[in-house]
Symmetry: C2
Subunit: 308 residues, 2 copies
Amino acid sequence: MSETLDDEQQAFRAELLDAGVLLGTALPGAYIHSEAFERVVSGVAAVVSDRARSTDHPVVVRVPPVMARSRLLETNYLSAFPDLIGSVHSFRGSHREHAALVAAAASGGDWAGDLTPVDAVLCPAACHQVYPLCGPVVPPAGLRFDVLGQCFRAEPSMDPARMQSFRMHEQVVVGTPAAALAHRDRWLSEASRVFAELGLTTTVEPANDAFFGRLSGVLAAGQRAKNLKYEVGGRTSSTRTLTALASANYHEDHFGTVFGLTTEDGATAHTACVGFGLERVALALFAEHGMTLDRWPDQVMVMLAVGR
Amino acid sequence: MSETLDDEQQAFRAELLDAGVLLGTALPGAYIHSEAFERVVSGVAAVVSDRARSTDHPVVVRVPPVMARSRLLETNYLSAFPDLIGSVHSFRGSHREHAALVAAAASGGDWAGDLTPVDAVLCPAACHQVYPLCGPVVPPAGLRFDVLGQCFRAEPSMDPARMQSFRMHEQVVVGTPAAALAHRDRWLSEASRVFAELGLTTTVEPANDAFFGRLSGVLAAGQRAKNLKYEVGGRTSSTRTLTALASANYHEDHFGTVFGLTTEDGATAHTACVGFGLERVALALFAEHGMTLDRWPDQVMVMLAVGR
């Protein structure tokens, strides 16, 4: 783990665990959700989907937590974020090798090094599973998706606001550059509006991804210079450092090129997404309204329908 | 992939994909769910939780798709089912090693072999994450959990009824041997009743797990001799071979010993679970009632509240 929690973060973590909102596990950054926490997560997802349904009429899809290994190469994720990937390995050996594996494990040795990579990796971003569905020619009005899926990033942390395993709920568009930008900007506003209605104070800031490698600074600067990424920050575990509750990304022609997507005029399609970190939004709500759902404002409870 | 689909299984798969109920991905056994499929899955989960709430008053928990690596050893899963595990590996090297990794990947080489096992494995069975919460002494009335989580088993198949990534919804008990058996048997009946109300024809059969290794036959025979496992089979992709829609397991003192759980008299606690394979139940419903929710029987739609 790279980070140490400050007093405020530790207090928030303790409050969540003491109240039973989240249950800790032996794996940092993986939590068992209480019924209350899950209701809030589901409620937030329902709010986001309702807003999308009434404006964009998106195709609603739910993506699995694993995807084909080749995706990590196609999307450039292995190149940009190798330290966050989750590659899935399993046992493909003989009975004899199995006996050796179990013996190594029993003696506390490294038993996982000899496993075989299988054709599965953990999904790092829900929308990565959608672009391959879109080709080759996108209709004039563009394609819109409401995507939700369990994501994984290999960054163990004790901060509940930085989970390794979490759900990302995204509003995705594939179309012309203008359509992509308009979608991104409209959903950025919509995210701020939803958060305000839920009683959360948030701010929109330009942002960049945490690229790996020598070119990370250059890549991040390029992202900022072109205003490709914004984050909607709110308070979760810290009042000093806001947590990105949502992230709005304009990918230009990146995914269009990768997956061979064009608009009707033959130009490469552009894409954008606005992703809600559902657990983070839930955490912001517990931070703002307290650990007991019964005491949350009526308006919030009605909106999330968590009082059902 | 070990199996070839017969004509009937191929036809069912094609029907699901053609109707857009499921969307195929590049990874066998991982599907993108349509809104309709997801509604059915959620509806089935809601029915199961409702039945549990009105009888057992279980603690409701939702477990993450990843868990600590040590769990696979504690539960004996690595020993019994090494070929099904999903061990998570990531990149923990230098910038130079990263360049080599990306070059290997770009040239089509094996890039995953040198990754580092991280402290995460995919969850093979939802209830495995619950037993560690229970100790050391279980109250006289026992502990009951309603557990739902995404599970993974590394067995690629083109049969939609054998997904690699799927959700398991379990009713779990920890208590005396009598309590464990009674819970298992009551939920076995309840599962059959729920399926019947949903219009499904099912049969209960003794079963065994598909253990790995030389002792697999002995272990399976032992399971059957002691009537530890039953499956509720129904039609999904085949009329000839039924699919286990639910599985009812009495673990005797296995998890109690592993996690140090005792009843108040100092005896090792026994455990049992009845798990619903939510995607499989949904598939059985699509097989029985057709690919269009609008044409499903009113009673089923009301029960699942999928007509909302």
